[in-house]
Structures are given as structure tokens and as C-alpha cells.
């Protein structure tokens, strides 16, 4: 290498090193992983863009990789995801080691249990994935009869996130089978960012009802609640067909209700609202609202749900909701699948 070229490179590294470089030592998992790959493959620089707004920039200086830009929320978040992923891989390896010590009979039984669990779990996106955007994301799922007919699903588009909570006809295995059909249609229908939410959901119902051919033709049905959030501006839209939501902003809860009949008649409006950091969203199936109290005299209802959410502490955890809900329910058994998706922006 010529002296002038070498000076140039040293000059570049000095330009970026002093004012912005926040980490010189390869200490965290993300930097170590990136460093190893960049050094092994002789890559000079890597930039990761998040929704084309924020970014992380790594640059190699001879045998050292430095994070030149990235001391931001996205960096910490990516770091947490990477650590969680590594733990998951370790946990799977441990599970596999545990299976090796079982007898043939135990293995068959274990296999059947695992199959049932896998089918059940395959319907849900892991809650940890939702935490990529939300400060907190939790799911309360209590089927009336396992595996159940409630579901939630979400999809990230560039800049926007769509979240859906659904309640399909029936419980147990029947509910699950209908859920699988509905989810297949949903995933196909929402593969691209929806333009007009009210039209998209009406079109979806048309597709669902077009599938009905048998005599029990009202079985293939569901109630839905949809929110779409612009991750840059935090502007959100809600529409539903029976799956309602409660929004708590500044400590005050408000119910957003919907009905399928109104939606199918074109009378269900989209609700637009502005979110801010710390806001809480609760989307829930009707099994929650239809829960009777301990005396078996009164349903929770949407007003009761608003009151319950108002009772929760600030920055609530799922356990706080479950404690309040259990106190309302007392000893009265549930009559339906109960699903509540709890999100903190």
C-alpha cells in the first residue's frame, strides 16, 4: 500500500472515531457477531436501516470493527433480540438432550404432546416478536376447551404494523380448524399493506363467506378486531367486527366497540387516533366481556372492561390484568375462549 493511501485510511478512521464512536471494545453480543462476520468475510462496512429512518453503522478498521453510529434504541433492541434468540437455541438443545433419556413409550407420549403443542403454538406469532416495536406485549389466552378458536396475528409492513385479534366459531379442535382456514385467508388477504381498512375487512368477509358450501354454512365465521399503526408517526386506525379494544391514554381508558352486523352493512366506521409512548392497547375477544362476576349476576361488558383497565397501575404488567380479572370472575367459570392482547406503546 502506498503511503498516501495509508494516510488516507488513517485520516478517515480519525474523522469518524473521535466524535461519534461510542464503543471501542467488542463487548456486546451484537457487536461481537457483526465483528466476527465482517472480519471473516473481509467486509469493510455494514449499515442496518430500520424503517429507512434510523440506522446502525459498523465499520472495519484493519482488524477491528467499530460501531460508528448506533447508540440508539434500535441498537439496544436488536441486541436484546439477539440474546433472546441465542437463549432459545440453547433451550432447544437442552430439550433435545432431555428427550434422549426417555423410553420408547415415553417418547411416543412426549411426541404426541409436543405435536399438539406445536399445532397450537403455530397459530400464534411469538409475543417476543411483537416487543420489537411495543415497549411491552403480552397475551392472555385461556381457551374454554383446548386448543381453542381465538387467535391473534400481526404483520409488519415498511413503516406500518397490522395487528389482528380474532374469535372463530366454536371451541376446541373445531375452533382451531376454523381458525386455520381464516388465518390462511387473512395472511393471503393482507400480504400487502391495506389501502382502505374498512374495504379490506369487508372484502375479507366476502372471501370467507364464498368458501361456505356445506349445509352447516354458518360455521365458517369469525369476529375480528384490527389495528394498523404507523410506526413513524404513531397514528393508528381501528376497525372491528365484534372484537373490541380499550385504549388507555394518560391514565384514562376508553372503549372502542364494533359489531359484525354494522360492518357487513357498511355502517362500521374506522376509528383514527394518535398514540403516544406509554399508551396501552387492550384488544380482546368477547369471552372476556361475556365473563360473569363472582355472584354470577353481571357480565363484565365493555363498561366493566374500561373500569377494570382504569383500576390497573401505571405501566401495568399482564399479571396486574389477570389479578383484576380473576377478582371480578371469582369462582364463576368462563363460557368461551378468552383472549386479551395487551400492548404498551
Amino acid at each position: 500500500m502506498k503511503a498516501s493511501e495509508e494516510d488516507n485510511i488513517i485520516g478517515k478512521s480519525q474523522q469518524v472515531k473521535e466524535p461519534v464512536n461510542s464503543s471501542d471494545s467488542q463487548t456486546d453480543d451484537l457487536l461481537q457477531k457483526v465483528s466476527a462476520e465482517m472480519l471473516a468475510k473481509q467486509i469493510d462496512s455494514v449499515t442496518l436501516y430500520f424503517d429507512d429512518s434510523d440506522f446502525i453503522y459498523f465499520k472495519r478498521f484493519n482488524d477491528k470493527v467499530k460501531q460508528v453510529h448506533g447508540g440508539n434504541e434500535e441498537y439496544n433492541h436488536l441486541q436484546r433480540l439477539l440474546t433472546a434468540k441465542e437463549k432459545e437455541v440453547e433451550s432447544r438443545a437442552e430439550d433435545q438432550n432431555g428427550l434422549e433419556s426417555l423410553t420408547t413409550g415415553e417418547l411416543v407420549e412426549e411426541g404426541l404432546t409436543m405435536d399438539a403443542t406445536l399445532i397450537h403454538q403455530s397459530m400464534f406469532t411469538p409475543v417476543s416478536t411483537l416487543e420489537e416495536f411495543f415497549t411491552q406485549a403480552n397475551i392472555h389466552f385461556e381457551p374454554f376447551e383446548a386448543p381453542g378458536g381465538d387467535f391473534y396475528w400481526f404483520k409488519n409492513y415498511p413503516h406500518k404494523t397490522l395487528i389482528i385479534v380474532g374469535d372463530c366459531t366454536g371451541h376446541g379442535m373445531q375452533g382451531t380448524m376454523i381458525t386455520m382456514s381464516i388465518l390462511t385467508l387473512l395472511k393471503q388477504h393482507f400480504r400487502l399493506l391495506p389501502d382502505l381498512l374498512s374495504k379490506e375487512i369487508s372484502d375479507l368477509y366476502t372471501e370467507i363467506y364464498n368458501l361456505r358450501e356445506g349445509s352447516n354454512n354458518d360455521l365458517l365465521d369469525c369476529e375480528l378486531g384490527l389495528i394498523i399503526i404507523d410506526r413513524r408517526t404513531l397514528v393508528a386506525e381501528y376497525i372491528g367486527s365484534g372484537v373490541n379494544m380499550v385504549l388507555r391514554q394518560g391514565g384514562k381508558a376508553e372503549a372502542f366497540t364494533s359489531r359484525k352486523a354494522k360492518l357487513l352493512n357498511g355502517k362500521q366506521d374506522v376509528r383514527n387516533f394518535q398514540l403516544t409512548r406509554g399508551d396501552e392497547i387492550y384488544m380482546f375477544s368477547d369471552g372476556i366481556m361475556d365473563q360473569f362476576n363472582d355472584e354470577n349476576t353481571r357480565k363484565l361488558g365493555s363498561k366493566g372492561m374500561v373500569e377494570l383497565v382504569n383500576e390497573l397501575p401505571m405501566k401495568p404488567k399482564l399479571e396486574d390484568f389477570e389479578k383484576e380479572f380473576a377478582a371480578f370472575r371469582g369462582h364463576t367459570p368462563s363460557l368461551d375462549d378468552q383472549t386479551l392482547l395487551m400492548l404498551t406503546i
Binding site: V34, E37, K41, Q42, I43, D44, S45, V46, T47, L48, Y49, F50, D51, D52, E74, H77, L78, L81, L82, K85, T129, E132, F133, K155, N156, Y157, P158, R191, L192, R231
Partner: protein
């Protein structure tokens, strides 16, 4: 799966990147690319740009199932221009998808 976009890809490559390459990848394929597994790990990662001594490369999310990979020789393009070209190609492909 990507055959229907072959015409658009061929046109934009000829227009913007005569000495580069433009490819569409599935999530499985992109996971095998350098740093491609980050798309699967964190869906908010929408674009990865990296530079090697001989080439510059941009991988960008078109949909969660479809990714655009644009490669060009370092001598012909700086990274800003390549990113800009990638955005133009993405816009054209999105229009194509919407029209279908």
C-alpha cells in the same frame, strides 16, 4: 414465483445498473446472505447495506416474503447512489405488485 417480475428487473437493470446485478430473493434465500438472518430476527430491519473492497451491496425488504438484492462494483457507484437506485427499483416493483 419471481418470473412475473423478470421483465421489470431486466428493464431497471439495463437502465440503472448495466454493470451490476438485481435479484429477488425469498426469506429463506436472504437468510443465507451475509447478515441476511437479521431480517428474520428483527422485522424492523428493512435494509442492509454493505461494502467489500470490490463491490457494494444493498439488500432491501420488498415484502416480508420478498427481498431485493442489488450488487454493483465499487468502482462504478458510491453507496448513496446505489441506495437511491435500490429505492427506485423497489418503487417500480411495488407498483407492479399493486397493479396485479
Amino acid at each position: 414465483m419471481f418470473k412475473k417480475f423478470a421483465g421489470v428487473i431486466g428493464d431497471v437493470r439495463a437502465q440503472y445498473l448495466p454493470d451490476g446485478s438485481v435479484e429477488l430473493l425469498t426469506l429463506d434465500q436472504v437468510s443465507k446472505e451475509d447478515f441476511g438472518s437479521l431480517f428474520d430476527l428483527a422485522s424492523r430491519v428493512t435494509r442492509i447495506v454493505f461494502e467489500r473492497p470490490s463491490e457494494r451491496l444493498v439488500i432491501s425488504m420488498l415484502t416480508t416474503e420478498m427481498y431485493l438484492k442489488v450488487t454493483a462494483p465499487s468502482s462504478s457507484y458510491n453507496i448513496g447512489i446505489l441506495s437511491n437506485i435500490t429505492s427506485r427499483i423497489l418503487d417500480k416493483l411495488r407498483m407492479e405488485i399493486k397493479a396485479q
